[in-house]
């Protein structure tokens, strides 16, 4: 049986995360660290210690904004941004209780909008997110004012070969 660490490294398919020597440069530059329950380098330590449930249940993996500052500055080329992608995929696959449900619901609403039209229709995508998240009222005024300013249109052109886009979705499913 592979360990959690081995599985994460296999999926990253690059620099093994144990190359980290915990200098914390990643955490020092991480714009979201202030809101994370575990700092980026702490996640590495937890993976090394086999704390799979705690890592996959953490808010950190969803709050990471993929700004890539950590990997850009890491003296050992540890790709924390990619690691966070991998951890999110694992959390979805293993159906753990997702801590930041609205963030995942946003991604689902976004991707289902792409699958349907080939392109994002922002008003529909946002409505879909609101239905999924139950967060009906925030930003409604802003959305309306953007519609009025002619930025958002309810009917935007779609990709014609929508079959090709659907095929991509169906055949890349994990």
């Amino acid at each position: 049986m592979t360990t959690f660490l081995e599985e994460v490294n296999r999926r990253i398919d690059g620099v093994p995360i144990q190359r980290c020597y915990h200098c914390r440069k990643c955490t020092a530059g991480c714009p979201i660290a202030f809101a994370m329950e575990y700092n980026p380098n702490k996640i590495i330590r937890m993976i090394q210690n086999g704390k799979k449930a705690d890592v996959l249940n953490s808010s950190t993996i969803w709050l990471c904004a993929s700004c890539e500052t950590c990997v850009t500055r890491c003296p050992n080329d540890v790709d924390i941004a990619r690691m966070m992608d991998v951890l999110r995929e694992m959390a979805i696959e293993e159906r753990v209780d997702i801590r930041e449900k609205n963030i995942l619901k946003f991604h689902e609403a976004f991707l289902s909008s792409v699958k349907m039209g080939g392109r994002i229709n922002e008003p529909f995508m946002i409505a879909n997110y609101k239905l999924k998240s139950g967060d009906y009222f925030s930003d409604v005024g802003m959305g309306l004012s953007m519609l009025m300013k002619g930025k958002l249109s309810l009917f935007s052109p779609r990709t014609k070969d929508i079959k090709a886009v659907k095929k991509i979705f169906n055949e890349t499913k994990a």
Binding site: A65, E89, H107, F110, L111, R119, N121, V165, I168
Partner: protein, 282 residues
């Protein structure tokens, strides 16, 4: 010069003024744009955050469509630009993935064109001197800070943008237009990106910090090349802190005396007209 053009979803919606200003500026600078045939969404952060293969295959479909025209592709949206460059990188590095993706799309990817953003094209191909020669209205009075954000720059070996910790191309373009670009330490900081709906309070926190820093740098506006950054900066800052935000191409168009700026500025959430008028620019 002639390039393929990938607008992406944002430029047809919340980033409409970016699309229109890129087109106006390109035409004035003799950059001919040919839209990529039947393009589809690049997947943005939502694809790579949840499904790696999808995040490569979605841009790959567009790269293959663009290759057909045999020209480099201009991708103005920083988020799309990043996904295109990332997909190119992974397709180069991972031949098994490349064959799999080609199988799904049913076409070969030849890796025959470059992915370019308009900052790079205007700075390097058109050139600062040629741009200066076209300025008819110096942007005196505008004191922008250049906000490059994350997605044009990182990871550096993939994005291949100059000076990724202290970039200057946008600042140089602003100064060429007669604006007084202000130096600040947040050029490459993150605005929170796609967390804007799922975790709004983080974006508000980051954007307010950026606005405070811009104010301290004595700037009176911000300039960006990313529709995600633009939307966050323009809509998420506290009322007492907010400064007008511009797409860099809107300011190029204004300085070149092109039609459009007045219409585009009406689409902004933070009204830039008081600043534009008090600087005598419209």
């Amino acid at each position: 010069m002639k390039v393929s053009y990938y607008p992406g979803c944002s430029l047809h919606a919340t980033g409409r003024e970016y699309d229109e200003s890129v087109k106006a500026v390109s035409s004035a600078l003799q950059i001919e744009l040919k839209e990529v045939d039947d393009w589809s969404c690049c997947g943005a952060s939502s694809a790579h955050m949840t499904n790696y293969k999808l995040s490569v295959a979605l841009p790959a479909r567009n790269l293959i469509a663009a290759e057909k025209d045999g020209m480099d592709v201009m991708v103005p949206c920083a988020a799309c630009f990043n996904r295109f460059k990332m997909a190119q990188h992974h397709l180069r590095e991972n031949s098994a993935l490349k064959s799999e993706v080609e199988g799904i799309i049913g076409k070969e990817y030849r890796d025959s064109i470059a992915v370019r953003n308009p900052i790079d094209i205007i700075y390097n191909d058109i050139g600062i001197d040629a741009l200066a020669g076209k300025v008819t209205r110096k942007l005196t009075g505008l004191k922008p800070v250049s906000y490059y954000g994350c997605l044009l720059l990182r990871p550096p070996e993939v994005c291949e943008f100059e000076n990724y910790e202290n970039p200057y191309m946008l600042d140089a373009i602003m100064n060429t237009l007669g604006a007084e670009s202000k130096n600040w330490s947040c050029k490459t900081d993150c605005c929170g990106g796609s967390l804007t709906l799922g975790k709004t309070e983080i974006v508000v926190h980051l954007v307010n910090k950026l606005m405070r820093m811009a104010n301290e740098a004595d700037a009176n506006c911000l300039v960006t090349a990313c529709p995600v950054c633009f939307a966050n900066l323009d809509m998420r800052a506290g009322k007492d802190l907010s400064l007008p935000v511009f797409y860099f191409t809107e300011l190029v168009a204004l300085a070149l005396g092109l039609q459009g700026p007045e219409k585009w500025f009406k689409m902004h959430n933070v009204d830039p007209m008081p600043l534009i008028k008090s600087s005598g620019l419209l």
